[in-house]
């Protein structure tokens, strides 16, 4: 009898599995009719079996994907996951990219603003017709609340974008209750005072991390804010509808958006870890948008197959080889210069990226405010490099460690391998050491990484975002394992950000760039790249974000059937 019982159990288990599987199937049938998404794009051979990514109730949504699930939609608590925030929140100001590639700061939640002569006081006049997605009206109090929260809430990571505001430090270490530099003048006017002039302040405010929250909703949500879609409220063009961890995020159009509702009903963001899968899904019409940066090897094929569906924009970022001046023999400027001269950057750019980008000779990325087109080129000259090495006392080269993060992209890994082999040509034996990410970061932050390859992309469109990050303070230069020895230059970098006069400021940055990158050869600038996206045939209006981030705003997107 027990045997019978066990058999019954086993059989019912199997049956349950089959049933649940069938249940899934019938649910599937319910949605196949909505397969219009699948009919799009170049996959003409579609036999009708492709099933659109979106599940029930998401017909006509834009189908996009991310490689990894987001951590939170609370933008104050993430330094990676901007896609959802970019679409569900608004910032005070925004950056717009013109046809010619130049970018400008434009109004968003703030209709207009004035900056005082000394560059210390910013007065923002806010829109009075904005409501949050829960119906609450947007007022100056929300701005105050949001910026205060950045310094007081546990787990926020983006305070550096706002810490120029007077009283920020006090608020952070608990000696003040409120952000003293932020004053609510009336419901629709906010006055912000900085502790010292900061030319890039508006650019910083335009960054998604400075999105404005609804005080009431955010307070009510508590720890659930950013984690539970229903309570994660913003004023943006899309509403955070649902989040199935590791599977998909759904954003639905905000019908009451102050700037008019978006033209697409919503966005389904699927989590597809495998980039090869992403490419296949795009080709079979299951995705409307494919980020070619995450799948560089598909670029040639995709651009060839869908030449009219490629949207491209420059990445306001540069890849660098970092060199630690605290490590022998990298403390010798001749050695650093030799390394600069040993890497054939143009060839790597041509071969790996099909030349889609620009070899950089300085710190700043092509497209950044203050970018210097006319920097002298760093020539590829292995013979000269050998001579320099001999001069520095290393005629037979030397051995140096290059630390790599094991979670690096395959492209990055290839680049380190190529650099290793190129440096071997001039006698430098590069040992690539793989660290897991946290050890890599910790070693780097401790200033002990001899060499590494990394990139920096602008958070806000200002040279300060590059110079200060790497050279602004002793601490900054240490945590990037640069350990800049020239303290005079460091002081100049710190001074530059306080200069009010734009021309003067940018001129100083240009000088500093020559000093740091050419004279002192602090790092090897490699290139800035173009960010390519492939869109489906029906998808129009998509724009690469101004800095070339992978995360995109979908408000401008529309379908052309």
């Amino acid at each position: 009898m027990k045997k019978k019982l066990a058999m019954t159990l086993a059989v019912s288990m199997l049956a349950a599995s089959v049933l649940s599987a069938c249940g899934g199937q019938s649910a599937q049938n319910g949605t196949t009719a909505s397969g219009d998404a699948a009919q799009q794009s170049g996959a003409s051979a579609g036999t009708g079996t492709e099933i659109p990514a979106s599940s029930e109730g998401h017909e006509g949504y834009l189908n996009v994907c991310l490689s990894a699930d987001i951590m939170t939609a609370d933008v104050q608590k993430t330094s990676n996951d901007y896609e959802v925030p970019m679409n569900i929140y608004d910032t005070l100001v925004q950056i717009k990219v013109a046809e010619d590639g130049s970018s400008s700061i434009e109004p968003m939640l703030a209709e207009s603003w004035e900056v005082s002569e000394d560059g210390l006081t910013y007065t923002f006049h806010l829109r009075d017709d904005v409501t949050f997605q829960n119906g609450n009206a947007f007022t100056a109090e929300d701005v105050k609340y949001t910026f205060n929260r950045m310094f007081t809430e546990d787990g926020t990571v983006n305070s550096s974008f706002l810490d120029q505001i007077a009283g920020a430090a006090e608020l952070m270490d608990g000696t003040a209750e409120e952000l003293s530099g932020l004053e609510v003048v009336d419901d629709y006017t906010v006055k912000i005072t900085l502790k010292e002039p900061f030319g890039a302040f508006l650019s910083a405010l335009a960054f998604t991390a400075c999105s404005i929250y609804d005080e009431e909703a955010t307070e009510a949500a508590g720890d659930d804010f950013g984690m539970v879609p229903e309570v994660t409220v913003g004023s943006g063009p899309f509403i955070f509808e649902s989040w199935t961890p590791n599977a998909e995020l759904v954003l639905t159009r905000n019908e009451d958006y102050w700037n008019g509702p978006a033209q697409i009903p919503g966005v389904v963001i699927r989590i597809i870890p495998d980039t090869e899968t992403q490419t296949m899904m795009y080709e079979s019409g299951e995705l409307d948008l494919l980020d070619l940066k995450t799948n560089p090897e598909a670029v040639d094929r995709i651009t060839e197959a869908y030449p009219d569906q490629i949207v491209s924009g420059p990445i306001l970022g540069v890849d660098y080889v970092f060199m630690n001046q605290a490590v022998e023999p990298l403390n010798d400027v001749r050695v650093r210069k030799a390394i600069q001269m040993s890497i054939d950057r143009q060839m790597i750019l041509d071969e790996l990226y099909g030349g889609r980008g620009k070899v950089e000779n300085g710190l700043m990325a092509n497209g950044l405010i203050g970018y210097n087109e006319n920097l002298p080129a760093i020539e590829y000259d292995p013979e000269g490099a050998k001579a320099l090495l001999a001069e520095a006392g290393y005629p037979d080269g030397f051995t140096i460690e290059l630390g790599a993060d094991s979670s690096d992209s395959e492209m990055r890994t290839m680049i380190t391998e190529i650099i290793q082999s190129m440096l071997a040509e001039v006698g430098i034996n590069v040992e690539i050491t793989k660290y897991d990410q946290s050890t890599w970061l910790e070693t780097r932050r401790a200033g002990e990484m001899p060499m590494y390859v990394s990139s920096w992309t602008a958070d806000f469109n200002d040279p300060d975002n590059f110079f200060y990050t790497f050279f602004g303070t002793e601490e900054n230069s240490k945590i990037r394992s640069i350990n800049l020895t020239d303290k005079a230059v460091m002081a100049e970098v710190a001074r530059a950000r306080t200069i009010v006069d734009e021309e003067e400021r940018l001129a100083l940055y240009r000088d500093l760039e020559v000093q740091l990158m050419q004279d002192e050869a602090c790092m090897v600038p490699l290139w800035s790249l173009d960010h390519l996206f492939a869109v489906s045939q029906r998808t129009k209006g998509f724009q690469v974000s101004w800095n070339g981030f992978s995360d995109s705003a979908f408000y401008p997107v529309y379908f052309e059937e």
Partner: protein, 320 residues
């Protein structure tokens, strides 16, 4: 082989349990066996039998041998330096110059595959050997001493077996970090338990054998009994187990590499080559397919050889 880790069976019968003592007289052809092959069969005899009987296994052994030779003489055979890059020739299709084409950095895939064989063979052989030595010693002691020793060792084995092996290896790699040496450690640590179980079960039955009883009554030292009298009788099963464990080690390496916690570039393990090459499955299929074919050939060869060895060495599975 995993199939024999069956806990409920261990006291009943385990592959190769009473290896040498089983009654060789099959009712169907008593004359054949008792008269000629008989009980005095050595492992060598049985391997000779295999050579005559199972062409596939012999062929597999030959393939393995060739791969070993190629790996050993890679510097002689390989037409190129496996690390030499030639960016301009990257992803070149197979040609007279590059038999299997070139990879994403313009390195010769044929040469890399030859050198990769060293890594993959080492990963197949070394950790398997280490883990089996650990497992054998623990299994012998557990089986022979019984009691608390047995309980502790077997619970330890239970713990190891409770983990999905890949996950456990992932955790070890997470702790130690990527790299070939760490794969050795991870795989050695993970796979000893199944060997321990098999050896223990055999020891349990061999312990009762007359000649062991006799040795014991004459006062032979316990360790001597274990290693001189019991261990040799476990050897046939251990050889089979060894051959069949190698493929899983090789595959584990490729899985770990796929997940990014295995071998790290620029090393040239096959698993890593497949992983790195899979981006090119559409456009330059030779890049991932050559190393995966290499893995498959080696793994299959070991599987066939193992199956063949089991057929001749393991009386339970003797075939017609």
């Amino acid at each position: 082989m995993k199939a024999y880790e069956n806990p409920s069976l261990e006291s009943e019968k385990i592959s190769g349990g009473q290896a040498v003592y089983i009654d060789q007289q099959s009712p169907f052809y008593p004359e054949d066996n008792s008269a000629d092959i008989g009980e005095s069969d050595t492992i060598l005899d049985k391997i000779l039998l295999l050579v005559r009987q199972n062409k596939l296994a012999v062929f597999s052994a030959l393939v393995i041998l060739i791969i070993i030779l190629l790996a050993v003489f890679a510097p002689v055979v390989a037409p190129y330096d496996p690390a030499a890059q030639s960016l301009r020739d990257r992803l070149a299709a197979p040609s007279a110059e590059h038999w299997f084409g070139t990879d994403k950095l313009g390195r010769d895939i044929f040469s890399r595959t030859l050198y990769g064989a060293r890594v993959s063979l080492a990963i197949g052989l070394l950790p398997t050997l280490i883990s089996m030595v650990i497992g054998t010693v623990l299994g012998l002691f557990a089986g022979y001493y019984g009691g608390k020793t047995d309980f502790v060792i077997m619970r330890l084995a239970d713990i190891m077996l409770a983990f999905p092996s890949l996950l456990l290896a992932m955790v070890v790699m997470y702790t130690l970090g990527g790299g070939i040496v760490n794969i050795f450690i991870a795989l050695s640590l993970v796979n000893w338990a199944s060997t321990a179980r098999v050896v223990r079960a055999q020891t349990l039955s061999l312990k009762e054998a007359e000649y062991v009883e006799a040795a014991r009554s004459m006062g032979v030292k316990k360790t001597t009994i274990i290693f001189r009298h019991i261990l040799p009788n476990c050897l046939p099963s251990l050889i089979v187990l060894f051959t069949l464990n190698i493929p899983s080690a090789i595959l584990s390496e490729s899985s770990l590499s796929f997940l990014g916690v295995g071998a790290q570039p620029p090393s040239s393990s096959w698993g890593l080559a497949v992983t790195e090459g899979r981006r090119y499955l559409f456009s330059e299929p030779w890049v991932p397919l050559v190393p995966s074919a290499a893995i498959m050939i080696l793994v299959m060869a070991f599987n066939f050889l193992g199956d063949g060895l089991r057929d001749v060495l393991d009386p339970y599975l003797k075939e017609q």
